[in-house]
Amino acid sequence: MKIYGVALLAFCFLTGKFIGNLLGAAIGINGDVGGVGFGMLLLILGNMYLKRKGLLEPLTEKGILFWGSMYIPVVVAMSATQNVKAAISEGPIAIIVGVVVTISGFFLVPLISKIGRKKQND
């Protein structure tokens, strides 16, 4: 049943967020540190485990894949609910700092991507 997949996803999501909040509390930040990342790792591991045991039914998988395909529409809705006006009306400083930092950041990607790449042939 598809709901099994959705439930598995919800379990990974909540457990990941819980770990993220514990980590946040441990280092003295009132919030979530990497909760989404932990949730993703849990889902990857759970997916691998269930597949190996042959327990992952196609319908269960579909329940998770549906939410994965909803991701782009969610991002579109997210863009439409950003405080775009403030970003522009706070004057040049926010725009200058934001633009320069982001564009400079882009160019660091190829430099740091070199790390740990030697063995890769493709």
């Binding site: 996803l9 540190v33 989404v36 863009s79 405080n83 706070e90 700092v97 934001g98 564009i103 790449r117």
Partner: protein, 248 residues
């Protein structure tokens, strides 16, 4: 008319599904028929979203009551839930291989964004350590800025600037990523992991990668999600001491 308003008001999320569906359909149509797929449909849809956000204020278009459901559909709960679900398509071996580079990217991203932000703010006329640190923190993500600012007791206009800086970063990352992806070799999981850590903004990374190649989203999101936490940890503490020692 009144009946329709009531109906939409009660079913905000469902109406948001319809609105986003129409935006997606129109964007893909424009991409295919007018722009000959030179700009991906996803990128157009996101830009349309950003333009719609102009009609509102703090919560973008969701400030208009008719579109209040957009805040739920585009809020952090569903964003994080769908981002986690994309991990189904991720390959653990590729993540392991990029682990070291991703971690380096994460630290470099926070350190680089912060100090470049501080230097720019000082050139633009800020001289006190608290304001400089807060604006630098805003250059990490729009959450690190206000968290740092309130921890250090920055003034509310400086905190507003730090949030705005972070939002500008989201927008530039969203629009810029598909344009620059090829030039910076962003076409594989390895560099997507690095990219996520470097840019730090989960929203921007997720949207930018979606517009570039949806297959890369889980890899970028995985590292980006740690960036805000790392920024909130470093900016009000070590980084503030450093800035205070130089400008204080």
């Amino acid at each position: 008319m009144e009946i329709i308003e009531k109906l939409v008001d009660k079913n905000g999320l469902i109406f948001a599904f319809l609105v986003v569906g129409v935006i997606m359909w129109a964007s893909y149509w424009i991409s295919k028929n007018i722009l000959r797929k030179k700009i991906p449909g996803v990128a157009i849809a996101i830009i349309v979203g950003l333009m719609l956000a102009f009609f509102g204020d703090k919560k973008g278009i969701a400030d208009i009551s008719l579109f209040s459901g957009m805040a739920l559909l585009g809020g952090s709960m569903l964003r994080d839930f769908t981002v986690v679900s994309t991990a189904m398509g991720a390959d653990l071996n590729k993540i392991k291989q990029a682990g070291l580079a991703g971690t380096v990217g994460l630290f470099v991203g926070v350190i680089f964004s912060f100090f470049l932000g501080v230097i720019l703010a000082s050139i633009l006329g800020y001289t006190d350590a608290v304001s400089l640190t807060t604006i630098g923190a805003g250059a990490c993500t729009y959450i690190v800025g206000p968290v740092t600012g309130s921890a250090l007791g920055a003034s509310s206009d400086v905190i507003a600037i730090s949030i705005a800086t972070g939002v500008v970063k989201v927008i530039v990352t969203t629009i810029g990523t598909p344009i620059i992806a090829k030039k910076i070799g962003l076409d594989n999981p390895h560099s997507a992991v690095v990219f996520g850590g470097l840019m730090g903004t989960t929203s921007g990374v997720a949207a930018g990668l979606a517009a570039t190649d949806p297959k890369l989203v889980p890899y970028g999101a995985l590292t980006a999600t740690f960036s805000t936490g790392l920024g909130c940890l470093l900016c009000p503490s070590i980084f503030y001491f450093i800035i205070n020692a130089i400008w204080g």
